[in-house]
């Protein structure tokens, strides 16, 4: 009898403990019904079709949890710094470019407590100390079919060789230095990107400068797309989303996938948000399989949940970067190096972009 009671007690304890355990181990995409009723979260991203897609991906989260989701943007790290400095943070979850969460980890962005998130389905190597990926995309080399015909460029090394491959180049000059491209330029200059030092940055930048005065530095994604659609440049460094749209709109360009530069947007929680747990709940829902499928279907960006099977048309599928073949061809910049040397790189990059 005693044993029976003991067994019963044990069973009860287990039964009681299980839900508690389940709560502790979150599942990506799972949302607790009515858990955030009366609460408000402000989600900040880059606007346009991208943020609309993200909101669509969070629709189920909003309906189930009962949270009121506000949208703001575009993301400016300077604005976030102003909020954190003033001790009045109104941005709860912020989508950023790939480096800021590493550069400002712990100062502007919270170190993430991974017991509150299910990161098991995120592609390997993409979870940072202060960030999870928001989506993946690539930077590809697009060349003009008419210019190169039978002898097209095959890699960034060809992009950087104006003697063998004459023609106008267009480079992403929209903001921060492009670490991946500088690494490729260092390689073209005879250096070893794997063993780069801060002094090599200038070597790489000089290689880009040597591309000549006709080189175009585009300022916005729309501008890069416009360059392709009007045929202004012979080789264009483009974001995959823009490249796909340009091709859909009739630009006669072909992507080069060898060493395409892996890029990701990041999801972060700023330091000093009012309800950290609510922010974690949003992130966890965002990482879910269905959310990521919706995101890709709406935006054509690559999902960051390995189980996601989005239904997309052929043109979009051609530019997704999550297939095994693409993953094998991708080139990942040396994030720790660029985080450490961000100021130097940015200074030199800005000099390059202002014609010096």
């Amino acid at each position: 009898m005693k044993n029976l009671i003991g067994a019963f007690a044990l069973t009860m304890t287990c039964a009681l403990a299980l839900p508690a355990l389940a709560q502790e181990k979150p599942v990506a995409g799972a949302v607790a019904e009515g858990s955030l009723k009366g609460k408000t979260l402000t989600f900040v991203s880059y606007g346009g079709i991208y943020q609309e897609g993200q909101v669509a991906a969070l629709q189920e989260f909003v309906e189930k949890s009962g949270v009121t989701l506000l949208n703001d943007g575009p993301t400016e790290i300077a604005k976030l710094k102003a909020q954190v400095d003033a001790g009045n943070v109104t941005w709860d979850v912020v989508d950023t470019a790939d480096l800021p969460p590493y550069i400002h980890c712990g100062t502007l962005f919270q170190k993430l407590d991974l017991s509150k998130l299910d990161v098991s389905k995120i592609p390997p190597g993409q979870v940072g100390e202060c960030s999870v990926p928001a989506m993946n995309y690539g930077v590809v080399l697009m060349y003009k079919n008419e210019t190169y015909k039978d002898n097209p460029p095959k890699s960034w090394q060809d992009f950087l060789d104006v003697e063998k491959f004459p023609g106008t180049r267009a480079i992403d000059g929209s903001g921060d230095p492009i670490g991946g491209l500088i690494e490729q330029a260092v390689k073209a200059a005879g250096g070893d990107p794997k063993a780069m030092t801060a002094d090599d940055i200038e070597k790489g930048i000089q290689k880009l400068r040597d591309l000549g005065p006709d080189t175009i530095y585009w300022k916005t994604g729309a501008e890069s797309q416009q360059l392709a659609e009007s045929g202004e440049a012979d080789m264009i460094m483009m974001w995959t989303g823009r490249a796909m749209t340009a091709v859909k709109n009739g630009a006669a360009y072909t992507p080069v996938w060898q060493d395409w530069l892996v890029v990701m947007d990041q999801m972060t929680i700023p330091v000093g948000v009012k309800d950290t747990d609510a922010a974690y709940a949003l992130l966890n829902a965002y990482l879910g399989q269905r959310s990521q499928e919706i995101l890709t279907e709406k935006t054509s960006y690559t999902p960051i949940n390995l189980d996601a099977k989005p239904k997309v048309d052929e043109a979009t599928a051609a530019f997704l970067t999550s297939t095994p073949e693409r993953i094998a061809q991708g080139y990942q910049q040396n994030i720790p190096f660029w985080v450490k040397n961000f100021d130097v790189a940015s200074e030199k990059w800005s000099a390059l972009l202002s014609g010096n």
Partner: protein, 275 residues
């Protein structure tokens, strides 16, 4: 000749300016001397950098070009507005104002379509059998785009002064034997100068701070200081350095105006005597 009257009428404007201009400006200046450390570090950094010096100089050169081209376009336009009939004048005014109602980005992108290598202008040139010209991502391209954006700020002050000029003065000069061009140059032009000065100062100062047009129409060689400020403030979060750059631009502008102002005043008073 000091203006008298109820000075307090200016109070609302002064209050707004103090709140949204003077106060933030004071913070910028303060930061430029204190962030990240107290002292002149940010200014030393600014002038030690060859990039900054080149771009500062370029900013003033571009502003001067835009001012000059605007003046050349605006003066005859404003004059035409004073001598045509009512309906034509309405059309001319609309032509000046309509671009005002469009967003700067839209206007600039329209220029991209016109100026680019495969754009409208070069297609026409090619169609005529002429060789295409490089316009986009060059300094002339930037000057063309900025001039169009800023033209109203030159035309309107000149027009408002010209409208008040008594044309009988010209008739008087003619009746005293002056040839038409002489009457125009010696009577009309000096009388219109206050409007010219106002337009020149407004356009020049606005040009100095231009950002989006040079960024989209220009190349690396036409980057202006505002782009570098943007990089420091938004990307590197060096607000002290960004502030120092702003202060340098502001002080340089003041110095230039201080040099120009006495010249203008002198000429102005001499025209009064002639008039």
């Amino acid at each position: 000749m000091r203006p008298r009257g109820p000075v307090w009428l200016a109070a609302p404007a002064v209050l707004v300016l103090l709140l949204v201009l003077a106060y933030p400006l004071a913070i910028v200046v303060w930061r430029s001397f204190t962030d990240p450390a107290v002292g002149f570090d940010n200014y030393v950094w600014f002038f030690q950098s060859a990039v900054n010096r080149t771009v500062l100089q370029r900013t003033f050169v571009v502003a001067a070009w835009v001012t000059l081209v605007s003046l050349i376009c605006a003066y005859p336009y404003a004059y035409a507005m004073t001598i045509v009939g009512k309906n034509v004048r309405l059309v001319l005014i609309l032509c000046v104002l309509v671009p005002f109602w469009l967003s700067g980005v839209v206007r600039t992108l329209a220029w991209v379509i016109l100026l680019q290598d495969s754009g409208v202008i070069n297609s026409i040139l090619r169609g005529l059998g002429l060789s295409p010209v490089k316009l986009i991502r060059t300094l002339p391209g930037v000057i063309i785009g900025m001039t169009q954006v800023l033209l109203p700020f030159m035309i309107l002050p000149i027009y408002s002064v010209m409208r008040g000029i008594d044309t009988r003065l010209l008739q008087a000069a003619r009746s005293l034997g002056a040839k038409p061009w002489r009457a125009f140059l010696q009577i009309y032009v000096p009388l219109s100068l206050p409007g010219v000065y106002a337009g020149v100062i407004i356009v020049f100062i606005l040009s100095l701070g231009f950002y989006i047009t040079p960024a989209l129409l220009g190349g690396p060689r036409s980057t202006m200081l505002s782009s570098l400020v943007q990089n420091q403030v938004l990307s590197l979060l060096n607000w002290g350095r960004g502030g120092a750059m702003g202060v340098v631009l502001l002080v340089a502008t003041f110095v230039l105006l201080a040099i120009a102002a006495p010249l203008m005043r002198q000429k102005h008073s001499s025209t009064r005597r002639e008039a």
